[in-house]
Amino acid sequence: MNFQFSSFAEFIEMAGHGPFVWAAYVVTLVTLIALIVLPSRGASRFIAQEKKRLDVAERRARAAATVATPETSG
């Protein structure tokens, strides 16, 4: 099993078929990466979003509690 091309330039050129072969491989690569990145990012983004909402709700509850305390104690 040998490398079929004598130089790197020839490898890119692929005897004239380079543009077709490389276009096919690049589009495939981009699609495959998207199929991994999109769900992973979606999951972490969802967690971050929910956390933010949780924090806001918590802060609001705490703020409401501190406002409410002096009234009840005084």
Binding site: Q4, H17, V21, A24, I47
Partner: protein, 257 residues
Amino acid sequence: MNWQWFHRLGSPRWFYQKTQAWLPWLAIASVVLLVTGAIWGLGFAPQDAKQGNSYRIIFIHVPAAVLALVGYYVMAISGAIGLIWRMKLPFVVMRAAAPIGAALTFVALFTGAVWGKPTWGTYWVWDARITSMLLLLLLYIGVIALGQAFLQERTADKACAILALVGTVNIPIIYKSVDWWNSLHQPATIKLTESSSIHPSMFYPLLVMVVGFYCFYAWSLILHTRQQILVRERKTRWVQQMVASGSTRLVEEGGKA
């Protein structure tokens, strides 16, 4: 007969927990196999006598087409399991399989078209397989669009499952009839390299790529399913705990749950 494992399969939390350990292995296997296969196919496999270097597209075209078709059956069978046993998880898998299948069908079509230009002199011919692939893409898009059209997730799941099953019955009919139609309209179709007659030096890298695509499919399917599970189970305690910790990793508290 112990059916516990089967019912566990219906539990999204169990799935989320189990697959967490599989993900790194699947990722490593997919990347190693795909990179090896691609380098082998692009640089080391011999040139094709007739098609020159353009045939090197086969190493992504065929695996993508195989997984596009297999993916439809994954989707339909998951849907059937969900309908029959009324389980949550198979529906999630089914819905997750649709965009992956559509993307792989697109890859198969695109690589086929780009391969067609140097080989047949045109990007698009109404070849039987290309036409069937186009119809398969429409079947996938139909399932995705139907799933998005419903307000209630439960209704969407069941409707998609029915459509996927109807498609499964029809896929062989569509393939056969398109095959027949093609032989009628274009008697002199240029046949792609038959995989049975392919030389071993070209077949092995192809085999590596096919296995790599299978691993990749499992990897992507699990990732999509996990994301869907998080969104759907957002009200449950275990997802809320993950939200509180700010990580997508599920950490078991105190041994086995």
